[in-house]
Symmetry: C2
Subunit: 690 residues, 2 copies
């Protein structure tokens, strides 16, 4: 599909940027436009620097295409961002812990320290994003995948958005396990912004402007964002593939993995330099027994766990959809959420923090743990049960310490954790601040798995089965499978299974984890239930076709003829300068259709906007009346739509086949045209009907 | 793209099978056609059984769609096949080893035992496949991916082919490391055949014939084939995705992983029952140190290894292409290969076996090892160097035993292995028997990595660097990275990196392995060098577009107008029964285009063949002349091509957008049509031009 269209499309791309400069640079190709600018100061030294830069560009271009430097830079920059964020979040969390420890003995002060610290942070994050860039709230994944699907949304890629999102996310993460929100979504958004800047830079640098790299960079950036959050290169790429697109072009595989590998390396080097030294080993160290990781009969338990996770995830998704709907319909909440975002965030977080206060209900929820500590403790391969029995011997075994700090049995703690965190997480999803929702779900799933694992261990311990093998089962394996299954079910993806393996390095559990994830997904996906991100897309009315299909399967099969805008600007073959001038003025399209005559309306092909401008210039200089077809080349349009084609067909032709503009013809007569902006409008109209 | 087309397409599918029966079953939907057949015996008991089967079908259908049982069955059957094959190959290999050991002392007899056993096996395999099914030779992956791309090749899915391939592959694998060929390719082919049968079965069983599952099953089967070879579920799926297609639809992800998980579970249970008990742990156990798997500076060495593997793979691919060309042009070889396949195989294997005879050059190549032992020894984390120094202490350390059995230094053995195996492998690729080429390449890469790793260990041992850290480097890690990089470079894929991790369970080396694989791939893919499978596709002139593009980038941008067959059968709107009868007789297409009139040729849409037959029947029963448009519904064609569209565009519209037939129109007038059979013809014509 590429060959024939390549020239017109890259032409179109140029056009999009700035046709005049491009027209100019066509004639003086290797000279910088800066040099030609008469009013710029220091022309001599600028010229010198420019020359060197051009030489450098030539040298870089000989090794490989300029995009590859962009991909490398993307990976490295994202890793640096991730590293910086982790560093600041750790410092902020430690400060909070230190303060809380220092106030030991004074419960009231401890309470205020425990509650006000995260409330203030979240209030700051909310007001900050409200006042500087309202587009920076939430996960960002729904918006990114809309952009990856081809729809342009410039607001979401602005520099202020990046700045706000970065600072807001640090505040959110510093609120720790009280708020129980994660990093993945916003980080994907952040890396997409970095990617879009690098993509622009690459286009600017590229000597040979014919090559384009805009769309690919977004896909790569999304993958890098996920991967650099987890330090899990392979599953990061796969997760982004699954979440972002419904079709994946394998030509993006190499750039994705290249960029991710660069990022992972940078991360590794940074961690060595910072004295941490273990980042790129398994992020969550586990010690599962490798000799015989699980017994054949345990497979059934893993299957049961998968079904359980699927059921809980359906419940969670239902609550989430309900609260999304509620925040949009309840007038009080709607008013607060539009005007008093900071106040709302502060109040909600204060409520959450009071509940997790270690001297109140928090003692049953291991609330002193950070997110990372929570996960590590849940993935512990030792049975907590046996530890609590040998507590005198293993006092140093940290995992036990928090989960049974209240003195109540660990089952009770786990159950309270699961019950409380479910509604707390749903509530936290309404907060208008940059936050990710994947890691909380992952940890929640681990808790479900742990509960089942510990339950099985208890049953076998009390001697229901005399079989020795059941006594040595590993609840950590269940926690890992539960984490993968629950997070997979909530996001409707399978790659969390690989993520769980990559995070812990436990390949022995590959099959049960995959099985649990599959079953959980099967249960959640049945009956066209939208995923977490789909629900967000639908609630935000984003022009994202796959979500629309899930919300209302009937909508995307609307015939194109019904949703087309009245009439496309068209030129007849024999158009003169006046008609061309009028067409250029009224139409913003890059490809303008040419018909045989205004009466017959038979489509001949299209001309590029840039060619029309050249035609006008030509007519001005030559001062004689010429017809369009005498000067311009009429490009044949390769793929056509009929008015009976569905919106979905048009969308897949735009995105998969890679056409820029699709002409809709009825028996050869032009009816209209569909380009990406038009498609965006159509999808937005359809989203309103839900 | 699905909605509007769904009905016509599934209709088309029916049509394809047997329109008459379907027409009948439309009226009596739930009654089996068998019951209506008057001449079948035992109608009473048959009817009884049928009724129960129908009830069972209804019950199965309520749980989930019938295909899912097919996917499960596919995974289980493939795992059973894989298990049976491994079992028989192990027995045959042990028999050979036993015989060779028994003849200890008599070199001549040992020589004959060593050489004639594999020669006879290969000769048998060759003659067998030559006489029973000539399509069963070779890897099968090029053919499978042509089929996955949408082209029908019924010869390659026949039952005789399956039988021949299974037995032939056992013979090939039983020839062991002498022949140095693997299992992956033919196994993918085998599982595709199983998949195609199951797919037919599912279509037969399905109560609701509207749902189709043909294409998906092939994709799933390819994934299952790879995964069940390695016992590596996740990378199996990814490898098949990378090799098979250029775009991957994520809706195939779930079936793939489901099927693979079923297969992996079956494998696990079988291995437990057979007392092996370790199959689904890492297939190749390694003991890499996890505390500090590698030093930051070693990254540079891994990068170097990647480049080295890339360079060697270019050389290997060049030799492979050369020998493919040579066998096709050399008249003597061509004659032998067409008539005396058994003799040729026997002779070549005899040559290879004489060279690997342990008392001749074989002693420098560790030729007594089986393929699995070779890989295990190469991946050993201990430095062979230090072992050979402490040989007296570690006499039990098996890896050393074979590689330094000749008394020569291990570097020499490794170098001889690399030099000899390169041309031996290239020669083995010409053998006309079912054989896979992935595993040999994987092991070869491991040897390259091992040589580098041992070299670095030697350099650090002799004290070139005083740094202590270099003394403890792990050559096994280099072997693993080398294996992934080399096999990735040869096949132009990245998933061997994940495969290496999954086979060994060593996630600590993820980043260096990924880096080496990326660099090796970058070096091999530069300059549009076709991959191993591409070369096979091109040499066999398969109608596979991506390979054609690599072979000759200019070809697929041929305009469709140039390659269209003279004239498509068409009907005019007002066609009577005579014209319809003629069209039905002359055209084999499922969708027959309808034009306004034969003069204007303006395309209105299409009618289905089944509708035309109904129209004819209607005209017969009603005995009155009716026009086509009065009886049949003319379906509007949704996507159109212009004669200027390229073949590549047409291909991507057929495969990605999922259209069944594309109509080519010029200014509204029908010029021709492109369906899959037509596309196959076009691609075959293009392949001839190379």
């Amino acid at each position: 599909m590429k060959r024939l269209d390549e020239a017109p499309r890259s032409e179109a791309h140029r056009e999009n940027n700035n046709w005049e400069r491009e027209n100019h640079s066509d004639t003086s190709h290797n000279k910088s436009p800066l040099l030609a600018d008469p009013w710029k100061p220091c022309r001599q030294s600028r010229g010198f620097v420019k020359e060197w830069l051009l030489k450098l560009r030539c040298f870089l271009g000989t090794v490989c295409r300029i995009e590859w430097y962009g991909y490398a830079a993307l990976g490295i920059l994202t890793a640096i961002l991730s590293f910086l964020m982790d560093l600041s979040v750790t410092k902020l969390l430690r400060a909070h812990q230190w303060l809380y420890m220092k106030l030991e003995g004074n419960s009231l002060l401890q309470f205020f320290c425990w509650t006000l610290y995260p409330s203030c942070l979240c209030a700051v994050a909310s007001s900050f994003s409200h006042h500087i860039c309202p587009f920076s709230t939430g996960s960002g994944i729904p918006e990114v995948r809309t952009m990856v699907a081809g729809i342009e949304m410039p607001h979401y890629l602005s520099l202020t958005n990046m700045f706000t999102k970065f600072l807001g996310l640090i505040c959110t993460l510093a609120a720790g396990s009280t708020l129980f929100l994660g990093k993945v979504g916003p980080f994907v958004h952040l890396s997409t912004m970095v990617g879009s800047y690098l993509s622009n830079l690459c286009t600017l640098i590229q000597a040979n402007k014919e090559e384009k790299a805009a769309g690919e960079m977004l896909v790569v950036a999304a993958a890098v964002g996920v991967a650099s959050c987890f330090g899990a290169p392979i599953s990061g790429v796969l997760f982004s593939v699954e979440v972002m697109s419904s079709h994946f072009s394998l030509k993006n595989y190499f750039p994705c993995f290249f960029s991710v590998a660069c990022g992972a390396l940078t991360f590794r080097l940074f961690s060595v330099w910072s004295g941490d030294g273990e980042t790129l080993q398994a992020l969550f160290k586990t010690n599962f027994p490798t000799a015989l990781p699980f017994f054949p009969l345990e497979i059934l338990l893993f299957a049961l766990l998968g079904l359980l996770c699927g059921a809980v995830s359906r419940c969670y998704l239902f609550c989430h959809r309900w609260i999304l709907q509620f925040t949009k319909t309840n007038p009080v909440l709607l008013k607060i959420l539009t005007t008093e975002k900071g106040l709302y965030s502060g109040m909600v977080v204060f409520l959450l923090a009071s509940l997790t206060f270690p001297h109140s209900a928090g003692q049953y929820m291991a609330s002193k743990y950070t997110m990372k500590q929570l996960l590590t403790s849940l993935l512990d391969s030792r049975q907590w049960l046996s530890q609590s029995h040998n507590a005198s011997v293993q006092l140093e075994s940290e995992p036990l310490l928090e989960w049974s700090s209240s003195g109540s049995p660990i089952y009770f703690s786990l159950a309270v954790f699961l019950l409380m965190k479910l509604w707390m997480l749903v509530l936290a999803c309404t907060l208008p601040l940059p936050a990710g929702y994947f890691m909380p779900v992952f940890i929640y799933g681990a808790a479900i798995g742990r509960l089942l694992g510990e339950g099985v261990a208890y049953v076998s311990f009390t001697g229901v089965t005399s079989d020795q093998q059941w006594a040595s089962i590993n609840p950590g394996g269940y926690a890992l499978a539960g984490a993968a299954a629950f997070s997979g079910a909530v996001t409707h993806t399978l790659s969390p299974a690989l993520l769980a393996l990559e995070l812990t390095g436990q390949f022995s559990h590959a099959v049960p984890i995959l099985l649990a994830t599959l079953l959980a997904n099967a249960l959640t996906c049945s009956g066209h239930c939208p995923s977490f991100y789909d629900a967000l897309s639908i609630s935000k009315r984003l022009p994202h076709l796959p979500s629309l299909i899930k919300a209302c399967p009937r909508l995307p099969s609307t015939p194109v003829g019904q949703v087309l805008r009245a009439k496309a600007v068209q030129l007849q073959k024999a158009a003169g300068p006046v008609e061309v001038q009028q067409a250029v003025n009224t139409s913003a399209e890059i490809q303008i259709p040419v018909v045989d005559s205004h009466e017959s309306q038979i489509l001949l092909g299209f001309v590029l906007r840039s060619e029309l401008l050249m035609f006008l210039q030509y007519c001005k200089t030559e001062t004689m009346e010429k017809h369009l077809d005498e000067v311009c080349c009429i490009h044949p349009s390769s793929a056509l739509l009929s008015p009976h084609s569905t919106v979905q067909e048009a969308h897949s032709m735009l995105s998969l086949v890679g056409a820029q503009t699709l002409f809709v013809t009825d028996r050869g007569r032009l009816v209209g045209l569909i380009s990406w902006p038009e498609m965006k409008r159509i999808l937005e109209d359809l989203a309103k009907e839900i």
